[in-house]
Symmetry: C2
């Protein structure tokens, strides 16, 4: 159920670019890697993918680096996850873009549950533009533990 490191790293880099967006000056991979604690050569691959996607552009040569290619309102976290991790759905039989047929569907009971999870998750992820997320407050440590431990469920 976890997102990949690649997605994680991509998002870190993107948010750094968002914060740099107003200045218009490119920021090098070396900087991006150091600031976000990401292996440089690995980030290189990731930035390349994002360039192909049209989310960032690069400036070559000395003083070069990367710049956001779209405004932060036009890129959503959902798009990023779908590109790097493939699917948002918890199970293939409730996926729209990567639907996998399952011959148990007619009688399947737990499918509805996963469908609800999928709907809520995609709703949040697709509404989460870089701009909107960047304007939010960071999470406080207590918040991570707040809800679940009461029910005893956790994770």
């Amino acid at each position: 159920m976890k997102i990949s490191k690649k997605t994680d790293y991509a998002l870190r880099a993107l948010f750094t670019l968002v914060q740099q967006y107003s200045q218009g000056r490119p920021i090098s991979i070396g900087q991006l890697a150091r600031r976000n604690d990401v292996p440089k050569r690995f980030l290189e691959r990731i930035m390349l993918e994002m360039k192909v996607k049209g989310w960032v552009t690069s400036v070559m040569g000395k003083q070069g680096g990367y710049v956001l290619a779209k405004s932060p309102e036009e890129i959503t976290v959902g798009q990023v996850i779908r590109h790097f991790d493939g699917v948002l759905s918890p199970i293939g039989c409730v996926s729209v873009h990567q639907y996998e047929r399952c011959n148990q569907e007619v009688a399947c009971r737990f499918r509805r549950l996963f469908l609800e999870v999928r709907n809520h998750t995609t709703g949040l992820m697709d509404a989460a533009t870089l701009a909107r997320v960047n304007d939010g407050k960071p999470v406080q440590p207590e918040e991570v533990y707040s809800m679940d431990l009461i029910g005893g469920a956790g994770i």
Copy 2:
């Protein structure tokens, strides 16, 4: 973001056992495998794990098989996923049981988003007892496509 086949298969088997629960007669792995379209030898492994967990019990010998060891109200889908897939959280830094520190936390913006997803997902999963899920209606094909295609987002 997807659950594993193991979890999928485990749930299929569990719901079959739920439906058999009133009769009290064990059902063999062969039957379970055939009814749910799961490789028999693989299901064997899975049932064994669930036995250790205390969710099912086995009766050896001829006429033997598996029976639900608890009432369907006492087992949740959340428990099953956590056991086979490890975590429900989309990212380590918002997990209670498998928290992973990340030195970006103070400034991290997208953490809140994943926290919200986690809270909603665990809420649904932990409220989903086998009994409750089994009483629900199967999903209609249209429902899978209902929400997302309107927004153009999908998956």
